[in-house]
């Protein structure tokens, strides 16, 4: 009787999801927060953050990671936007499978793709290192840039383009004055999908640079793996989380202004 009540009442259906969220999202976040402010002997401390600000290794890696992420993101936009534009333009592309081909790599495991990149570089006798890292990151994340932009351009109402034509815009002006501004939400989505994950990447950078160049994700991983620096690792994670949150908030505001959604 009681159990059947529990099941039939619609508001109870949400319980499993709430439990899941608490167990796997809220609790870990709280733990990160707690550990970040804990010293090795168990007391409250800000030492972990001071260490990040003063110790050059973590800070340098952090800045380096942001640099790599920026380069990757810019390259993804430069390559991805024209690709998305061509794919979404009915005159240039009538073939839906072409879109699939561009999106396909998204479904293959990142590690596998990175290992494939290593094999490719070996085959072509190219040195692994920073160049390989950027190549690998762009290759890995390009679909995540193309897809939201493609989606956004695809959804632009054709009547806007006709209205622009009607008001005297030629092909170039239609692009600069209508399509480009209306596709910005897609670009913002793409940036979120590329920039943030790149900062926290560690496996890709280790594989493609033979562990010579380290990204912020690697530093976090190193510290968390060792019991005496786990609290420091937690503090680094927290810093990254805050950056992710800030970026999301800023881009959300941007999104509200323009009012069209991309992938996120």
């Amino acid at each position: 009787m009681k159990l059947s009540n529990l099941i039939t009442k619609r508001s109870n259906w949400v319980i499993p999801y709430v439990l899941f969220l608490i167990l796997f999202t809220v609790l870990p976040l709280l733990l990160i927060g707690v550990y970040a402010f804990k010293s090795n002997d168990g007391g409250f401390t800000l030492q972990n953050f001071v260490k990040f600000a003063t110790q050059s290794e973590a800070l340098n890696t952090f800045i380096y990671s942001i640099g790599i992420a920026l380069i990757t993101t810019v390259l993804c936009i430069l390559i991805g936007y024209p690709a998305a534009y061509i794919l979404s333009n009915a005159e240039l592309n009538r073939n839906k499978t072409l879109v699939m081909l561009f999106i396909l790599p998204m479904w293959i495991n990142v590690l596998m793709r990175s290992l494939a990149t290593v094999a490719l570089f070996d085959f072509m006798h190219l040195e692994l290192g920073e160049g390989a890292l950027i190549f690998g990151l762009v290759y890995d994340f390009l679909p995540f840039m193309i897809y939201p932009i493609y989606n956004t351009i695809q959804k632009i109402d054709k009547s806007y383009i006709e209205a622009a034509q009607d008001l005297g815009a030629n092909k170039l002006q239609i692009f600069t004055k209508v399509i480009w501004p209306l596709s910005i939400p897609g670009i913002v989505s793409g940036i979120l999908m590329v920039f943030l994950p790149t900062i926290s990447t560690f496996a890709i950078s280790e594989i493609l640079t033979l562990n010579n160049k380290r990204l912020f994700g690697s530093i976090i991983q190193d510290n968390i793996m060792m019991s005496d620096t786990m609290n420091y690792g937690a503090a680094l994670s927290l810093i990254m989380l805050i950056i992710i949150a800030l970026t999301s908030v800023i881009s959300n505001k941007e999104d509200d202004n323009i009012n069209e959604g991309g992938l996120i």
Partner: protein
């Protein structure tokens, strides 16, 4: 009949009696008028056809628009009216024919170089720009200097009654306000021709009425040519100098609102514009027409003796009074509904016809009444057809293929299998079945005309041909039907 449809557009602009005269001298009149009045037309649509794939949406449309005119293209959805407007704007290319502006061929000119602007059905205001930027869009492209843009945008905002809305986001505006911005964005460019694609369709009734008046006023103030597309006949009658009635990709009639209303050229126009009683009649002689088993005096002439015709009488033109033995027509009121200003009554006449009548006086259901119709209120039209005429092929002496299906027929002597034949079938001799499987061919009811005591249906068959059926059964537009014809009703003759 095709002749009338083709030529009427050309004739009407200078000769409002075209509906009567066109059949007598097809071609001759039109040719003269084009060459004489060429200079006064701002837009000329010259025998334009348009296909999308293998579907023809416009069939040999000709239309000539004078400078400063308010022309409305009117028709049911799917009649090709929006396509015609898009061809004028240049968003689609014509398949055949020529479009001229000020005498210059503009058929190949891309839309951004045509000196006309469009008000779109869903407004198509740029969501990333505010009201001011939307309106300034066209002027900025023309590199007009900032001060001038500012002046023009403000003056046009004032014209559409949206002063102080410059900085507003277009999404925050109501439908009516968005509509005004869309109009402002178009007219600020001072186009020679303004194209409007059902601009009021998305507004509610009250707002629509207000905007109609404002549009009419704007047209008067600006003095530019308006080409307006709508499916709302009342809107067309209210706004236009000239109405172009379209159906199935063809121009049916072009004329002034009063002419279209009072002298519709065929049952479609009579039925589409306003309410009407459409009846079968026979023209006995000039100014004498017989319908509802009575001979009436009328004012129409020029028909053949005993020609079968369609008769149109508007509901407000039938006088209704208490039973009076000397009246020509007697009947009984079956329903009476108050319509705000007048009453709308359905009267069944003693000889079995159902008529719609509008009058300021109410006669209750069941009341016995008499009716009078004045000669000048009877409008007589040529019939578009008297029978179905189809082209078919003999299969063997007992079977013929028409409408892409095989029909049984009576033994045909002197005809061999494979012979091309004409097949005639009377409207009354076609049976429509609920179940498609019961018929020899299938089709969709595409137009229904009530003829007072029976329905005259247009059925579009799967082969794409139209057949016409008289029936007493009630069908709805869009019903799928099976088509059955008894063998003795197929009148077959060899094609020469």
């Amino acid at each position: 009949m095709t002749n009338i449809q083709k030529n009427c557009p050309i004739v009407q602009l200078t000769d409002k009696d075209c509906t009567q005269r066109a059949p007598d001298i097809p071609g001759a009149v039109s040719a003269n008028n084009i060459s004489n009045d060429k200079k006064t037309y701002i837009i000329e649509i010259d025998h334009v056809s348009k296909w999308f794939g293998d579907k023809q949406v416009l069939d040999d449309v000709s239309l000539f628009v004078k400078k400063g005119e308010f022309v409305t293209i009117l028709g049911p959805s799917g009649c090709g009216k929006t396509t015609l407007l898009r061809l004028i704007a240049g968003f689609n290319q014509v398949s055949e024919g020529i479009i001229r502006m000020d005498g210059q061929d503009i058929t190949q000119i891309p839309p951004h170089k045509r000196p006309m602007n469009t008000v779109f059905q869903r407004y198509a205001l740029f969501p990333h720009l505010n009201v001011y930027e939307n309106i300034a869009f066209g002027l900025k492209l023309k590199k007009v200097d900032e001060e001038e843009i500012d002046k023009q945008v403000r003056s046009v905002l004032k014209l559409v009654g949206l002063t102080d809305y410059e900085e507003r986001n277009v999404d925050s505006l109501s439908g009516g306000q968005q509509q005004r911005v869309a109009i402002a964005r178009a007219i600020v460019n001072k186009p020679q021709v303004l194209l409007l694609d059902e601009p009021l369709a998305a507004l509610d009734l009250k707002m629509r009425k207000d905007m109609q008046l404002e549009l009419k006023q704007m047209h008067k103030d600006l003095g530019i040519t308006f080409i307006y597309v709508t499916h709302d006949q009342e809107e067309a009658l209210t706004l236009s100098d000239t109405i172009v009635v379209m159906n199935k990709g063809k121009v049916q009639q072009i004329g002034k609102p009063t002419d279209i209303y009072n002298e519709p050229i065929n049952p479609f126009v009579a039925d589409f514009i306003g309410d009407s009683n459409i009846l079968n009649g026979i023209m006995k002689e000039d100014r004498k027409v017989q319908f509802m088993y009575h001979e009436f005096d009328c004012v129409d002439e020029g028909f053949k003796k005993d020609e079968h015709v369609d008769v149109v009488i508007r509901p407000e033109d039938i006088y209704i009074m208490q039973r009076n033995q000397s009246a020509m027509l007697n009947g009984v009121v079956s329903t009476c509904i108050f319509k705000g200003v007048h009453y709308e009554m359905v009267v069944i006449t003693d000889n079995g016809y159902e008529l719609i009548i509008q009058d300021y006086n109410a006669f209750e259901a069941g009341e016995e009444v008499s009716l009078i119709i004045k000669p000048s209120d009877i409008h007589v039209m040529h019939k578009e057809r008297y029978t179905n005429t189809l082209v078919g092929t003999m299969e063997d002496e007992n079977h013929v293929t028409i409408l892409d299906e095989t029909f049984e027929c009576l033994p045909q002597e002197g005809l061999e299998s494979g012979d091309e034949v004409n097949v005639e079938i009377k409207f009354d001799n076609i049976e429509l079945m609920d179940d498609i499987e019961d018929g020899y061919a299938a089709g969709i009811v595409s137009f229904i005309l009530y003829k007072g005591n029976h329905y005259h249906l247009t059925v579009t068959t799967d082969s794409g041909e139209d057949i016409y059926v008289n029936t007493n059964d009630v069908w709805d537009d869009g019903d799928m039907v099976g088509i059955k014809i008894n063998p003795e009703h197929l009148k077959i003759s060899k094609r020469v």
